[in-house]
């Protein structure tokens, strides 16, 4: 950060490295043994102030687990988490390639952030409603939604449950606790608070969990959400996925150079946790803590998932235009899949051979599912959705003026 002087000058934050620079993130501390203690989930919110500025980690890079956040997870569950992450990545890769072949208009990958969605989902109940962004497809994979249906939605084909109304990746899977994703950023944080308030009003112990990137914390909706969640002690988890980049704007543009994003919650009197988002077990543990707090009437928790977006924002983006090409590799927190694999191998529950085989399995499985999905058409093929469905679901019942417009559209044909 630029040194302060006694002269006021307009300050515009710049990321430390741009294309052509050699990125060096040695200044970012990767705490090994300094994980803050795990308080009781129903503690006073002040007891989590420390957690907003430090970093909850469970796994060391050598696979050892340390500290009192180590979750009780069976090896099977850890292997399922690993497989879900690998499946998510395989699907992302496949869909990205298919977009490049013109099969769909658009796609968004979640590489590097798979632990945030998969471990988070694993720590919730399936009836806990999540309000994800476009980078939490891992929730659906973990909860067992149909990958083929996800793909069909991206292809806007005959198998698209949304009948072509939404762009790729903006899924809606109510039965899998996955709220319809909005393309307007940040808006869903406050809706999740409302959902949670309704759960509490109905005396249900269901909770809601909402996501935003660090960039959209600048939206008013984020602050509405913190305010209302605190005011009404709503049973929600408010997740900020700090992946460092909002398209081409680094997190400093969203006031990330000062206090942490988790610390935003302290002023609202919310419990606040900041977690290593590339550490599957830490994300699981933090989520579990926040979910218990919400479910038992302790109110909302703001969790900052500290991670890194390893790919472009979307298929329309080229990160080499604004950040060093090798920045994703030198980012000091490693890769969530590699780290969980190392841990599983370390505890004797996994090996390189099985891992390689599983990677191939995921690839083959995804390719197979994709072939099936594509049989139902692509955006540009003849088997896409019926144009007349565009008039449906604007309202529950078709109003007169839309009926007239359907007739006008028929004449156009």
């Amino acid at each position: 950060m630029t040194k302060k002087s006694n002269q006021s000058r307009l300050y515009v934050p710049e990321p430390p490295f741009r294309p052509g620079d050699t990125p060096d993130y040695s200044h970012i501390a990767v705490p090994a043994n300094h994980t803050p203690p795990r308080p009781d989930p129903l503690c006073d919110d002040h007891e989590t102030v420390e957690h907003a500025t430090s970093l909850i980690r469970v796994m060391r890079f050598n696979g050892d687990v340390v500290g009192d956040w180590v979750p009780e997870l069976t090896a099977d569950m850890k292997r399922k988490g690993l497989r879900d992450m690998m499946l998510t990545r395989a699907m992302d890769d496949r869909m990205f390639t298919m977009q490049r072949q013109g099969k769909m208009s658009f796609y968004m990958k979640s590489r590097g952030e798979e632990a945030v969605s998969v471990a988070h989902a694993m720590a919730l109940r399936i009836d806990d409603m999540t309000f994800p962004t476009y980078r939490q497809q891992g929730i659906l994979i973990n909860r067992g939604a149909s990958i083929k249906e996800m793909m069909c939605q991206c292809l806007s084909n005959a198998g698209d449950r949304l009948q072509g109304k939404s762009i790729p990746v903006l899924y809606s899977f109510r039965d899998f606790g996955f709220f319809s994703v909005s393309g307007n950023l940040g808006t869903q944080m406050i809706q999740a608070v409302g959902w949670g308030m309704a759960e509490a009003y109905k005396d249900s112990d269901g909770i809601a969990s909402a996501f935003t990137g660090e960039g959209a914390t600048a939206e008013g909706d984020f602050h509405y959400a913190l305010n209302f969640a605190s005011t009404y002690r709503a049973p929600v988890i408010l997740n900020v996925v700090n992946n460092q980049w909002a398209i081409s704007s680094f997190q400093g543009i969203a006031a990330g150079e000062g206090e942490t994003f988790a610390a935003r919650g302290c002023g609202f009197g919310l419990a606040t946790l900041r977690v290593d988002g590339n550490d599957f077990l830490a994300v699981y543990a933090a989520t579990q803590w926040a979910a218990e707090r919400a479910r038992k009437g302790g109110g909302a928790t703001l969790i900052e998932h500290f991670t890194y977006r390893k790919e472009g924002h979307s298929t329309s983006d080229d990160p080499t235009k604004y950040r060093p090409e090798n920045e994703p590799e030198v980012w000091p927190f490693g890769d969530p899949i590699e780290r969980l694999k190392t841990h599983l191998i370390k505890i004797g529950e996994w090996d390189e051979g099985r891992h390689a085989a599983q990677e191939e399995d995921c690839k083959v499985e995804i390719r197979q599912i994709y072939k099936e999905a594509e049989k139902m058409g692509t955006l540009s093929s003849a088997t896409n959705v019926n144009d007349f469905t565009m008039f449906e679901q604007v309202y529950e019942e078709l109003p007169n003026h839309l009926e007239a417009q359907i007739e006008a559209f028929k004449e156009e044909l």
Binding site: R100, G102, S105, S316, D318
Partner: protein, 504 residues
């Protein structure tokens, strides 16, 4: 085996083309599905394009560094099996269409836009004819617009295959002026060009035959109807009732027609007591139309002179007394025709038609004289052909035949067409002066009036003479008043001293 076309995909948000910055395959390479094919760069991103199928590369689109449009074939694979996606048949071949063989092509030279809103030009002169071999830049034709006359020159060398029109005709900007047969590549598909055999080569019009059809104007100038102001409801009412709003008197504040105005108009069309309505149809309608056209288009002037027909009447009386059994009784009409034939021989501009749209006057050596005749159905005009060649007796017989035919509706087309000028006679009924309406496209019409006795003072003596007023109406566009007066003096002389009519 099948072909699979991999088209450059729409790689995001409105990108229409991409630069192919690198190829990872070459012609003949065998590639696996998902293997890298090429790198494409857009304004937004550089992306790697991978193989959607396995196969052998049989076509690559371009060189590295070339731009390629989204949707264009990037590569074509020859695939092992007929994949479902085998899409080769659905598009045009990737290879460029073979160049047309040299020598067989045509070049159409369209009338260029020769300035500021000109939409057509008159081709006033041709410097080439069909079959001519012309050099590039050689003069082709002269074109005249409101603004200028310009010379049009050949844009290419070649042989003239067709020319657009006759000299004097209007041609629309953008229409083919000439079509060349050229060496090498032309600018038209052969099919677009009119074959030589049916090229527009109209025969030269024979001055004595029917005039050529007036050339079709490229932009027909319709009379622009004026605007009527009225509310939609008033317009609707007028439409429903079939009322012509142009006929209504507008009393609205803004000059608009009101419902009340329509009601007045409707009332004015209402049948009054004692009124009988007769539909104007058939011959009546044709007459109405032709008279209206004549008066609308031709600026008439009428010249009248008084003619002493005492000698003529004496001659006619004697002729009738002396005629044989086989000869018809003579009226004054054959004598007037004779006088016209003699006079118009010297005044061909009165025995003529003016094709105003085509822009020329046709004069005729024969006097084909229309004789206006009244029938029960209305006016018809049978024609005495070559009247100058007929004797008085032949004229009288022809008049009788045509009059009878007109009454009994038995005249053929030939008897009713081809007039070069017309005589209309209301003489037997009385009247002092007529101002007849010209039978368009003729340029003159003659009208004798009733013969009556009149007293004259001659060398101190009061004498009685038979006189007749004789009218001629002329098209002032092509006949001057001076000529009409001179012609009428000749006519007067011929009728007043009738012997000479038979000596010429």
């Amino acid at each position: 085996m099948g072909d699979y076309r991999y088209k450059l995909p729409d790689i995001g948000e409105g990108v229409v083309e991409a630069e192919i910055t690198a190829w990872h395959v070459a012609l003949g390479d065998s590639v696996e599905e998902d293997a890298p094919i090429a790198d494409a760069m857009t304004d937004k991103a550089t992306i790697e394009l991978t193989a959607p199928v396995s196969g052998v590369i049989k076509m690559v689109a371009c060189e590295e560094g070339d731009m390629l449009a989204v949707g264009a074939d990037l590569v074509i694979f020859e695939t092992e099996e007929d994949t479902e996606e085998d899409n080769a048949a659905e598009t045009a071949p990737a290879v460029q269409a073979e160049a047309k063989p040299a020598g067989s092509s045509t070049y159409a030279y369209k009338l260029p836009d020769i300035g500021e809103g000109v939409v057509e030009a008159e081709i006033t002169a041709w410097h080439v004819a069909v079959g001519d071999e012309v050099e590039e830049d050689a003069p082709i034709a002269d074109a005249m617009t409101d603004k200028a006359t310009i010379e049009l020159t050949a844009p290419v060398a070649g042989i003239i295959r067709t020319v657009a029109c006759e000299e004097g005709e209007m041609l629309a900007v953008g229409a083919d002026l000439v079509v060349f047969d050229v060496e090498g590549e032309g600018n038209t598909a052969p099919a677009e060009v009119t074959p030589l055999s049916t090229a527009i080569v109209p025969a030269k019009p024979n001055p004595s035959s029917t005039p050529p059809p007036s050339p079709v104007k490229s932009t027909p100038s319709k009379p622009v109807s004026g605007k009527v102001l009225a509310s939609p409801a008033v317009r609707f009412e007028a439409k429903e009732k079939g009322l012509d709003m142009f006929l209504a008197k507008a009393t609205g504040k803004e000059g608009e027609i009101t419902h009340a105005d329509l009601a007045l108009l409707e009332k004015s069309f209402a049948q009054e007591e004692g009124e009988t309505r007769i539909k104007v149809i058939g011959l009546r309608r044709v007459i109405a139309q032709r008279m209206q056209e004549s008066k609308r288009n031709i600026p008439h002037f009428t010249y009248v002179d008084e003619i002493d027909v005492t000698a003529l009447e004496a001659l006619r009386k004697r002729a009738n007394e002396k005629r044989g059994e086989d000869k018809p009784k003579l009226t004054v009409l054959p004598f007037m025709i004779r006088a016209l034939a003699v006079t118009l021989g010297d005044w061909p501009q009165f025995n003529a038609r003016y094709l105003d749209e085509a822009g020329y006057v046709s004069q005729f050596s024969d006097l084909n004289l229309g004789i206006a005749a009244q029938t029960d159905n209305g006016l018809i005009v049978p024609v005495i052909k070559k009247a100058q060649a007929l004797s008085i007796w032949q004229l009288a017989e022809e008049i009788t035949r045509l009059a009878e035919g007109a009454r009994t509706n038995k005249l053929g087309t030939d008897d009713l067409t081809g007039a070069t000028t017309t005589l209309t006679s209301l003489g037997p009924l009385g009247g002092i002066v007529t101002t007849p309406v010209i039978n368009r496209p003729e340029v003159a019409i003659f009208g004798p009036n009733k013969i009556r006795k009149k007293l004259f003072l001659e060398e101190g003596e009061i004498i009685e003479r038979l006189v007749m007023n004789f009218s001629v109406s002329c098209d002032h566009r092509v006949i001057d008043g001076y000529d009409a007066a001179k012609m009428m003096q000749d006519m007067k002389r011929a009728l007043e001293d009738p012997l000479f009519m038979f000596l010429s």
